[in-house]
Amino acid sequence: MSTITAEALSATTLLRFATAGSVDDGKSTLVGRLLHDSKSVLVDQLEAVERASASRGQEAPDLALLTDGLRAEREQGITIDVAYRYFATPRRRFILADTPGHVQYTRNMVTGASTAELTVVLVDARNGVVEQTRRHAAIAALLRVPHVVLAVNKMDLVGYEERVFAAIAEEFTAYATELGVPEVTAIPISALAGDNVVDASPRTDWYGGPTVLEHLETVPVSHDLAHCHARLPVQYVIRPQTAELPDYRGYAGQIASGTFRVGEEVTVLPSGRTSRIAGIDLLGEPVDVAWTTQSVTVLLADDVDVSRGDLIVPSKDAPATTQDVEATVCHVADQPLTVGHRVLLKHGTRTVKAIVKDIPSRLTLADLSLHPHPGTLAANDIGRVKIRTAEPLPVDSYADSRRTGSFILIDPADGTTLTAGMVGESFAAPEPVTEADDDGWDF
């Protein structure tokens, strides 16, 4: 095995990504292959898989067993939840949200995609783009995952034919682009044989692009923050009240987006009071500037009333507050959401009472058809909702800010997480289509 030194691992970045696909697509095999070939599977884990495979009469170790954790999943041979996997290369640390792909697990896919910077959509090269593929593309678009990888799997079963891959890549890219997905990278692979997963395959010499792992290692993990609205949800007020620090009041939170600077004029929402940033403490170190996703403590120049649930924003870039929220939601609970439902809405660090005023439509992800006024949303349904909140909220559009444009609805009776919401329009306007260059398959 390759030796990873302490120094090489000390300054890597973190990529959170998600996979969606069914057992039939070979998703678990792909994930098992990434873990195995990047040397992240350890001897005792591999031995356990070999023992389990042998006891079922399988000759080769079934890499899918590495990822199917719960007993029900092992017994039924399905993946029913979001499982998080961890692996590292000398270039990067990865957190993988591994989700099942069938329509009844849409909520799991949405959960996995909510924190992902990249999502891998798997298709079987023999079947091409099917209903499930379009649904996965729609989820990536809906959750505004910045990067999408189309892994065209089982290339070994279509003779590694370039035209099969090219047709699928073209169809998928056109569809995803229409939904506003900003970037699609298509890669021909065989998870079972290991082609183009970690190492470039000699059987696809017509393909000039990166392997799956190469792409994961090099895709940019953060965006141009200059264009992001600065937002700091206040989690907690730090007041030592000691003899040395009798008057210290620090507003602690994780910067949801953008950058903050000492000296900047800020507004506290929803109250609208204004002040100036007198200091920023980055976990014990005073700094002049801080940015997402750092956890900081902010000191203000004036003695204004700030408490948990407030949002600190630059005065020159403050969102409007509203009690009427329109959003696209994914219903994640088994009990349905209905018009008139009284709920709690958690946005940032603020939880307020709210009522579901209307459910104008339900959306079928596979063909993007709309069903007007369904009355209720059941588990895994995607729909549009109108919500009235008991207090004004400073919401952004989800397209502008994934953290301050999102919310969850909670059942006040039993605390169940009911619904995940994204403020504003469902899909981005498509980017102008650019011609693919001839060097590779980076559509």
Binding site: A6, L42, Y236, Q254, L283
Partner: protein, 314 residues
């Protein structure tokens, strides 16, 4: 005033200067979790074993609320088979930071006849009842644990906020979806929430963070000479707790611990790593997970951890 161009986040290559290093990202996420709990719960407590994960948790909590004190107490589940070096460390840390310490004692339960010693002398499975009853009697509503999803397959699906009923039971089918960084801590009276701030950390991350932050650890994490004997392929410490049997010869070896638990089921590994850097290099090159190498209780069955988690184990 510092300009943005000078303040790089540790990224390289295609990453923007704003990209956080993986340790900064994990630290910020954990601090966010601690502060959410402080903001939403009445009476949280940190499970503190004196092991490296709980030591890192405490370090993060200290950073999250500085310059104020940590607004939580510590809870140690004392199996009665603790390494003396670890107890000494625990008491020193508690005194240094002016913390409150609760102890749930397995030995008390055995002495009162409520729990029975197992034939193999292993006390890890006996921790669940004292822990659960302490949570109930002290009315803790949030309990921080150092569990990491990379430790074991059943933990890979654990939530950051994990709801437990009044028997501390974990039902994998009742877990709430966690989207973005919006954690839902709602619970009924008598229920509590287990919170795992290190969910997304790996063993290597923990060690790298310890090295970066220069966090002091109990000495048993570093190579030292110890009288040990072999059982189930692990080096166990010879001592009063029940080992070795007559057929298990004792020898002195250079070893260190990768995890700290009950002496009866926590094994040492052969190692000459006496510094943090040497430990990190050793772990990066290791081909066994820390639980596979050193925890007898996880080898009991393929679903051993899942079963214990359902019953309220941490």
């Amino acid at each position: 005033m510092t300009t943005v161009a000078e303040v790089t986040g540790g990224g390289e290559g295609t990453d923007s200067p704003y990209a956080l290093s993986h340790l900064d990202a994990l630290e910020s996420e954990a601090v966010h979790i601690f502060r959410e709990v402080a903001g939403e719960f009445e009476n949280p407590v940190i499970l503190f074993s004196g092991g490296k994960d709980s030591i890192v948790m405490l370090h993060l909590a200290l950073k999250a609320f500085a310059p104020a004190a940590v607004p939580f107490a510590l809870l140690h589940v004392d199996t009665g088979h603790n390494f003396p070096e670890v107890l000494e460390y625990r008491d020193r840390v508690v005194a240094a930071h002016g913390l409150r310490l609760h102890v749930a004692s397995v030995q008390d339960y055995i002495d009162r006849g409520v729990l029975k010693e197992r034939p193999d002398g292993t006390r890890n499975p006996l921790q669940t009842l004292p822990l659960t009853e302490k949570i109930q009697s002290e009315r803790f509503d949030a309990v921080f644990g150092g569990g990491r999803r990379d430790e074991e397959k059943a933990r890979a699906k654990e939530r950051v906020f994990s709801l437990r009923d009044e028997f501390s039971q974990w039902d994998p089918r009742r877990q709430r979806p966690e989207l973005w960084n919006l954690y839902n801590g709602r619970h009924a009276p008598g229920e509590h929430v287990r919170v795992f701030p290190l969910s997304n950390w790996t063993e290597l991350d923990v060690w790298q963070y310890i090295a970066r932050e220069k966090i002091e650890l109990p000495e048993i994490y570093f190579a030292h000479e110890r009288e040990v004997f072999s059982r189930s392929g692990m080096w166990l410490t010879a001592g009063e707790w029940g080992g070795p049997k007559e057929t298990e010869p004792v020898q002195t070896r250079l070893v260190r611990y990768r995890t700290v638990g009950d002496m009866s089921c926590t094994g040492a590994v052969d190692s000459d790593a006496t510094t943090l850097e040497a430990v990190i290099t050793e772990i990066a090159a290791s081909r066994l997970t820390e639980r596979g190498a050193t925890r007898a209780d996880d080898k009991l069955s393929e679903a051993a951890m899942e079963d214990r988690k359902r019953e309220g184990y941490f």
